[in-house]
Symmetry: C2
Subunit: 804 residues, 2 copies
């Protein structure tokens, strides 16, 4: 095994001058990092360090930073030597000051933030702004040029890196994975992304596992397991691990340069070999990865107060604290800063000396200036096919059935084909594309797969554009990386299991929110979710697969970022799909079911309805322009069906009752217009929902979500919501609605309860509904399926009296 | 490498009779599995199969089932031969019918569900109830005897298994990991749990990776990578992989028996060696794990409609469908069922023949009857130390500061010590126990660690009872497994990152909810969270670490399962901690900060206040028994501080204004009593919050959460909530409240806006507050910390006029 792993013993790679320049860069980056964490003033140490030069509150993470800068310096060397196209994904994103320091040395930071100039005054600002009120965050946040990854929450670096590399054949994504992050689940499985990366078509990812040994207060697992296990693990993941280990800077520079050259050569060899072959012929290569074992807080204080600090977890944040009360610590800080010999690194004005600046790549080759890391610069709108060609045609509401997501799948096939040349559209999902009825996409492309393909396999292809791995985390991370580098995509997922990536969603929403404040960040394509196999259609799986609560997680984020669509049928789903693929800087959530359901709106009506976000369905209402006795509102496909069935019952049994049906596609329309850009005005809301009539609202998710959105509206006290109440099991879709009181019979009963004027006739209908419910329950307990009259129910059955 | 892995070539392990009996069990389990998926009637095939014997809707997952039953049969053999204490964690939980089949054969199912008797009539019921309305779910849900793991959502089997094994030295937890599940992040990192399992003190986990090659519609990664990578991967994870591969039943039985005996022998050897040593001397052993490679849908139809089915993804759910329209499929189904030779397996009455029943272990040795898998049977209440000994003592509110979680840490140390003998209490967390200020716990125990321990390491110990891994998923999974097997624990986590386990939380809440309906499931200890390093104290990390939305996820689950506590100071936190550790079958969420904050309630008052859940703080109010002009409500430590500071300003500047302060500890108290068992009555709510006065509510999390909880209350229209609005960055705690409008100055302004009678005096104060806000912002932008008057503010400063 070892022969596989040991790097070749070569003579020193770096001539002395190159070594000195690399080391100078590194010292400068480290100096600027320590400066950001500690200094308010005296940035160049032109005078002895005094306590008033030091920030009163010390914040930031030193421990990972020197390693990050070491890697940065060496990647720059490779870029210069090979004119390579690289970006840097920084998993330990809390090493933000190091990333900022390197971009400052490259000049990019000052180009984008002219007030932080390349001189003493600029350096003072650079130091002061870090982790300072009104300044910049402590992480590799959107503020950091070249960053597509904040790394505040750990686990997603590698998935982001692969997402960036897909369809970018010239790009090499260097991805630093901290050994803390490496313990997370999402990171642990993201190593398998190599099974989906095609060396002909895609770029390369060069993972650099940075073993600095410690987390906040603990050793890391991968730094303490035996070397043979460490190596076996990465061979097992399908990589060729190359080790760089030590602490003596010169030797480490030599070793890192050697290994990095070797890794880059391997990458180029793999790519050349693959690209010389027939497309589709190549199997997965064994890509290189680097294991860099260096001390935590490398070059920082070796000991503080007699306790080990360099090479230990005590370096994690600020190794020296309490400086105001401890002159010795202040002295240690000054010694530490001076150990980098700043006078050699910065000129009289405070700018990095020419020798250092010359080691940086130039222009857009600088990782901090790569357009790939500001993906909006590269984003091209998708070519969109004609919607009408995919619409379901029918003569009247409730006349035909269609599988909404299958119709969407045909549209996505057309999107895939229209953008095949641009290669900028991908669909990701946890092995559910076909299960979610999007399989027509496979007429246009296959599932990416670099392992063996057997004769019996279906739709696997080396050049497939659908990415399926049974890891929602990896799907989400890939798509984020793909979008952040300027491309487009869709994540199709079982509704309940999208909660797996709640926290990733939160972080991406925060990224988008913060990016909007940064003038040089260009808008990226929206993150689009199709949530299907939803709570109301879970016959196969039951309770564990029933959770519509992702919407509630999403609603907590900034209003302008989030959209939630609940198209009630196939044509509305088509319109919404087309719409969201044209948007940017948002997160769009579409919830739609996959089984055959009645269709309500022809394409033109669907478009008008979706554009409005919500509206009266005149054809289902019987109050004309007059005030209704009751508003029947609905949002979601299953609630819409039950509402219309309830309305049919009401119109049949209580024909004098004036009913208005309001359907909501765009959930955000319910919010006040001051709260959400899609919110309708109070006047419009009052006109739709009245100011004093009962509103029976059938909602796809948890009922209180509707209250939360509408509590400021005039008629809120009369809104009665039925939705999912966590009553679930393996049962029929109709029985699910019964268990949760969302079915037609309960809805009719609700109307009767809240509209007292229906009197004795209403009371009789209430009892009839009770009988129907009992009949249903008895029926399904024996037959295991919905009563035939419920299965066969159509909206236009009202004209045929078929319901009774 | 290979020598390490190849199992010894031994002669056949199983005598012919044993082989035949094992195979009979397996055939019987497979027969019962197919029967559950397909049959309504004719359970023993006493007559030719007709379409009316078949369920009209076919639901369930066949693909994984035969493998699960194969393993079950072989584990039973080991239990009988060695009188071993085993439980079975079934990762592919959607193989529910297989698990039910095995428990039925063991007799346990009928003991717990007498109507499902061991005869033809019982078998008919067994078949019919599966995935049937009013019947049982399709997964290994709480209904399944012996299950502690549903596996509907994939990823947590291995963490659950390790959680079950901790502190159970006699137990062996066999854990089947599907190759689909193995792709998830949580599972991919859970393999590293072996770094935390002590062979002296803990039981063993025997992972069985079941490579059946396919997910829903795709091959799996681990089944398609080269063998040498597969083996290297598990060596890298620190295991000794043992391979069982094939499809011919007899050969597979022999091989499985051999390998299982070998694995059990290795486990016993490891345990014996470790237990003979000094405690603490042993390093991590290389535990065995088994890789079972067998066909998906093994023994099912080889081809259906000319398409490969056995050994392919088409076996995933129901290999044969559309039986009503396809007599050939019906014939295939009958052939398939008869291929198991049911007449050999069940006697005339329909009971399993004696030969089969004799292969099951007896009594509590049956995995389906193990008390470990019905942990409530084993649960013993924790020994609880005296609260008073840990309370913070002080003379008046706001006179002293304390770090709430540090005080809690000392209490937890005492809990740890009081239960040291019982070994039934653990703390888990992602490397944050010390960061969250619970480090006094380390006076009682260390952090579990089985890798090398260096001289400089702190609090690492082979027998530590604190489990720290940088994976919230693993922490959650371990704790769930520990609780489900009858023990107690606490998960301490950064507030924002608990979202990482949203989905696991959902599944556990569903498990608890479903378990309550099952009479034989005994209550288990509650799942307790301490969420700290919360949104208002994130100076080190900023926006990415600011998210109080877990509460909203939790509120969507069944009311009786969830409790949310927001103790405003150390003594209330102590009371809540003590309380939650005494509860069962709940999920308790405690949110509390760690920095030094003013203390409000002496211990006795704290206890009364917490018991009530919410109440008036008379000492902070100035309206006595009369109706206030305004209610200042608060929930959470930071909002309480700001509310009291605002009240101090109001009392100083508008002394005639009658203010009532209401503090809420138990968030659920806000809900109507019909909705939540902790909800206060409408009368009590009206008495506290009035029916028509403005309520300025300062809340820890997202403001609409308070609206959602209180929208049915009389005075809801007058409740004005301030909370977190996603305005965040790296700044001071006070500046965070300013950015989100939750600070004292904004609160005072809110009062003035909603209480018009304050007139000109109010207007002047409003302007003063505006000046204060401007002054603050100017100050922090220069000094980077809160204004001294804010840092030094104390409640009793009101008497000293110190605020101005």
């Amino acid at each position: 095994m070892a022969s596989n792993l040991a790097a070749p013993r070569e003579p020193d790679r770096l001539p002395e001058q190159e070594l000195r320049r690399l080391d100078a860069w590194w010292r400068a980056a480290n100096y600027l990092t320590v400066g950001q964490i500690y200094l308010l003033d005296n940035p160049l140490l032109r005078e002895p360090l005094r306590i008033e030069h030091v920030k009163p509150r010390l914040l930031g993470h030193w421990g990972t930073s020197p390693g990050l800068s070491f890697i940065y310096a060496h990647l720059n060397r490779v870029i210069r030597m090979q004119d390579a196209n690289l970006i840097y994904v920084c998993g330990p994103g809390h090493g933000g000051p190091a990333m900022v320091a390197n971009t400052y040395l490259e000049g990019t930071y000052s180009e984008l933030n002219p007030e932080v100039s390349l001189d003493e005054d600029g350096m003072r600002k650079l130091f002061r702004q870090f982790s300072f009120p009104g300044g910049i965050p402590s992480h590799a946040a959107p503020d950091v040029p070249g960053s597509i990854h904040e790394g505040g929450e750990l686990g997603y670096a590698l998935a982001h890196a692969f997402g960036a590399a897909f369809d970018n054949p010239d790009l090499v994504v260097a991805c630093v994975v901290g050994d803390g992050e490496a313990e997370t689940g999402p990171l642990a499985t993201a190593w398998h992304s190599n099974k989906f990366l095609n060396p002909s078509r895609d770029g390369a990812v060069l993972p650099i596992l940075h073993l600095n040994g410690y987390k906040i207060a603990n050793p890391t697992i991968l730094a303490r397991i035996p070397d043979e296990e460490l190596r076996a693990l990465f061979i097992g993941y399908g990589y060729e691990p190359l080790l760089v280990e030590g602490h003596e800077p010169d030797a480490m520079h030599q070793r890192m340069a050697t290994v990095l050259d070797q890794a880059m050569a391997q990458i180029r060899n793999i790519q050349a070999a693959a690209r010389a072959q027939q497309p589709g012929a190549q199997a997965r290569p064994r890509w290189p990865m680097i294991i860099l074992r260096s001390p935590k807080g490398w070059t920082g204080p070796k000991q503080v107060d007699g306790l080990k600090t360099e090479g230990f977890w005590r370096s994690h944040q600020v190794p020296l604290s309490g400086l105001a009360d401890n002159p010795e610590h202040l002295k240690l800080l000054e010694d530490w800063l001076r150990s980098y010999r700043p006078h050699e690194l910065f000129d009289a004005a405070g700018a990095p000396v020419a020798e250092i600046r010359a080691t940086a790549p130039v222009g857009a080759r600088r990782m901090s200036a790569s357009p790939h890391a500001n993906g909006g610069l590269l984003r091209k709108a998708l070519q969109m096919p004609e919607l009408g060609e995919h619409a379901v045609a029918f003569s009247q509401p409730g006349a035909v059935k269609a599988e909404a997501t299958r119709v969407m799948g045909d549209f996505l096939r057309a999107v895939m084909q229209a953008n095949a040349q641009a290669r900028n559209f991908r669909i990701v999902g946890p092995d559910e594309t076909a299960s979610n009825r999007l399989q027509d996409v496979f007429k246009a492309t296959g599932r990416a797969w670099m392992e063996t393909i057997l004769e019996e396999d279906t739709f696997l292809a080396r050049d497939g554009r659908v990415l399926e791995i049974l890891s929602e985390h990896t799907c989400q991370g890939w798509l984020e990386g793909y979008l952040l580098t300027g491309r487009h995509g869709l994540f199709s997922c079982y509704e309940a299991f999208i909660h797996i990536i709640d926290s990733m969603f939160n972080q991406h929403a925060k990224w988008l929110d913060a990016s909007r404040e940064i003038p040089w960040r260009q808008p990226i394509a929206s993150l689009n979710y199709l949530l299907t196999s939803h709570v109301w259609h879970q016959e196969h799986n039951g309770f564990s697969h029933q959770d519509p609560g992702f919407i509630d997680v999403a609603l907590n984020k900034k209003a302008d970022i989030v959209r939630v669509y609940l198209p009630p049928d196939a044509n509305t789903l088509l319109w919404v799909t087309d719409h969201v693929l044209r948007t940017w800087d948002r997160i769009n959530i579409i919830v739609a079911g996959k089984p055959p359901l009645w269709q309500w709106l022809p394409m033109e009506q669907a478009a008008r309805h979706c554009q409005a976000g919500l509206g009266v369905w005149e054809w289902a209402s019987n109050c004309g322009d007059s005030e209704p006795d009751v508003v029947m509102a609905c949002a979601g496909d299953a609630p819409t069906l039950e509402t219309l069935a309830a309305v049919a019952l009401l119109r049949q049994h209580l024909p004098q009752l004036k009913v208005r049906v309001v359907n909501v596609v765009d959930l955000m329309a319910l919010q006040p217009s001051q709260v959400h850009p899609h919110g309708v005005s109070d006047a419009r809301f009052d006109a739709l929902f009245t100011i004093d009539k009962p509103v029976i609202f059938a909602y796809h998710g948890y009922p209180w979500t509707i209250h939360r959105l509408s509590y400021r509206r005039t008629n809120h006290r009369n809104i009665h919501v039925r939705g999912y109440n966590e009553e679930g099991t393996t049962t029929t879709p109709f029985d699910m609605t019964v268990l949760n009181g969302l079915d037609r019979f309960h809805l009719v009963q609700s109307v009767i309860e809240w509209v007292p004027q229906v009197g004795a006739e209403g009371a009789a209908l209430h009892r009839l509904m009770q009988d129907k419910l009992a009949e249903h329950t008895a029926y399904v307990r024996v037959h295991g399926q919905d009563m035939p009259e419920i299965r066969d129910w159509r909206w236009n059955a009202i004209d045929q009296g078929a319901l009774e």
